[in-house]
Amino acid sequence: MSHAFYLDVDRCSGCFACTVACMDQNDLEVRDEPTAWRQVFAVESGAYPEAHLRYVSLACMHCEDAPCLLACPTGAVHREAGAQVVRVEADLCIGCHSCSIACPFGVPRFGADGKMQKCDLCDERLKYGLEPACVRACPTRALRQGSPNELGLSVGRKAAKRLTGET
């Protein structure tokens, strides 16, 4: 079963609750470098009086065919058989940044030890029926996770309402 994070871009307000909840869950030391595993981006378009600001929260997508996994020369980035999570094994990481080059989302982070680190999907929490920390915190419920097909249905339901004017 594959996994997806879903972000309702209409609901994301750039509040950073997801980012800080991730720091708390994972005991991240974030000081002078932007090493948070979940980043929030502000996207501006147009100019006054027609300016638009949107926000996007991004972390590892745990891609099915993960480019970082192929790029990693040592196997530090790996996926266990049948698992959803793309993991990184710090002991094997040589800090070559190949994963950064390969990742289309700019996800890999490098801490003081020079080793790659990133989101592990809170997969241990998932096992115990708990949501990833970022999803749990999200105050507008913009951020969700689960099976992509299930998430697709919930988006579809909203769209169907909109199409029929029943919003």
Partner: protein, 755 residues
Amino acid sequence: MHAKDHMDEHERKLKAKIPGDDTGIEVRKSICAICDPTTQCGLDLYVRDGRIIKVEGSQENPHNGGTLCSKGAATRQYVYHEDRLRTPLKRTGPRGSGEFAPISWDEALDTVVANLDRVRSESGAESTVFYVGYPKQMRPFVQRLAMQFGSPNFCTESSTCFTATAMAFKLVYGQMAGADLAHARCLLVWSANPFYSNTPMARGLLDALDCGTKLIVVDPRCTPLASHADIHLQLKPGTDGALALGMAHVIIEEDLYDREFVAAYAHGFADYRSYVAGFDPERAQQITGVPAEKIRAAARLYATTRPAALLPSAAPVGHNTNGVQNYRAAFALIGLTGNFDVKGGNKVAPFSWLEIGGAGFVTRQHEFEMPRQWADLPPRVGAARFPVWAELVDQAQAMDLPRQILTGDPYRLRALVAFGLNHRMFPASARFLEAIQKLDFICDIDLFATDTSRYADIVLPACSSVERSELRCYPEKYVALSQPAIAPLGESRSDTDIVFDLAHRLALDDPLLNPGPDGGVEPADAFEAAMDWIFAPSGMTMAELREHPGGMPVPHPLVSPERAYRERGFPTPTGRMEFASSILQKYSSQVGIDALPTYRPPKYSPEGSPDLARDYPLVLNTGSRLPMFVHSRTYRLSWTRSLRPQPAADLNPADARRLGIDEGDEIELSTPSGAIRVRANVTELGQPGVVHMYHDHAEADVNLLLESDYLDPISGFPGFKALLCRVDKVKSRRGTGEEKPGIAEAVRGGNAVQP
């Protein structure tokens, strides 16, 4: 095989912080009080060996429903920060030096009491000022302490927050009326951005929009809420009154107003109508910068979609030299369109506890905090200068403190007992610091060693909300009495315990504050007994609430009838909704006070002070919320601070281009009062001609740019949201070796992506 594959299940669970007997991790319930008082999200604290290792929002709390904001999510850093005060301290060096020696609680409290007794016997009880900043839980207790001690001078940070909004409501309707978000078909949100100030409400708004509720947003900024608006009225800061009068013009002109309500229940409509006649949308456009067609469209949408609710904000409109009048003009639209005290409109709901209305029960909070009458006490600080405040608000107006301390007019102030004092809250913050140094004695009670606490003679360590018991209620008809989730750090104590201990040592003759004059009653027990007294009308007891540490639904919540004014009238001098205020009429000989909700441009604005605008051409708007900060309270936490590490001013790209300023450049913001140096954050968030700067930065305190008397004559509120400044480039970011892209990007408070 990877080493991690062999990581033992137990280690994995521990690392992931999975609660259970095997991991020794227990989930304990508490309440977040980092911001206050309309959020108070329920907390699930993951505790192991008596220490918090993680925080989440409580699922069962209907207000936050399991979620948190970025500030609450940083609770662990907040609780365990190295700046936390651990013991009482006595000053050993000069004021401001930061030289202190630890002392015992007995010595500290006896020193406080000896000083208060001495000052009272020499200069009267009124020469001692009691102050409460954040949080608000101890306010009723400190107010009663002040009153029973004999001083009228109880003041709070509400001298700059929320009260002006309440005053505007009271002047028009005699009472407040909250937006009924759940049932409104149209929402007129007047300068609130709950996405950054009240996330549970933001979720409620989004849910309402999903159900097709129409949204009009009045805001000088392109906030996350404005992006959802059917109509965004992006006005110039401080011109809210002109916009509201323009909308009223359309509503009256096009006969969209509630004639029946106005005829039967309003006072002063004829005068209002003729004043409003001067504000056609074209004139309103000239003043506000909002296109006349948008003003027309918004007026029609609000007036014709029934029911419609107006959601004000706590402070921004009030932060103006004409703030109360501007909000009166806006609030008049509620009655004009017949949306007062109706389901889905603005509904009257009695306050339950700590400024939360509509929680479904009533208490004796007011009787508790006002054991004496104002008439029996000497005049409060600010009473002569702000008579409308004194008539409507049961507190002293703290904005007049520096003046009275420095002049001794009408009497000397000599001692200050402050809970959570931050001098940077005051306009001309340096003058406030200068003033308090004239006092004979200062006791500051705080969580952290702060720049202000360095000026105190005695500093007492308060504990955070997760280390104490605290009672909070919610508009979802829910109530919680939390229990301490961890032991207080060091020797820190609950603020209320400190109040009860002081009352005991002052030997106050008051069974509610000093139930055991001969000793033997623990402060925590005195707190519960007082709470039981306050909560008696609610039918709930502390013993019952204690059984539900995560909170419980209010049993048999009260339901307020609609349109109660039909039977009872309005609690105003005329008994009617007042388009023309009888109270303001009494003081209309004072500059800036009129019975009608008149519009005056901000004192310092291109219209209000054209001479000044030649040298200071940009409008400065201070203190609009950022998502990761609430005032100064989360600056010191690396998690939140990393999201916006340096003080930065938001500058529109058009202004930046004109001034040759690039993203991340060092710039100087200046007014005739002072200058600060910050980074430029070039963004379309604000409009051209307006600079937005967040407040409370120790290294760039924007309140140094304000005069101490830049105040609204009605409320005494500072004009934080509209004054004039200039911006000059100091240094380019490029070529200074500061091109670490990640950090500079983070300055934007969102890693910005250029279009």
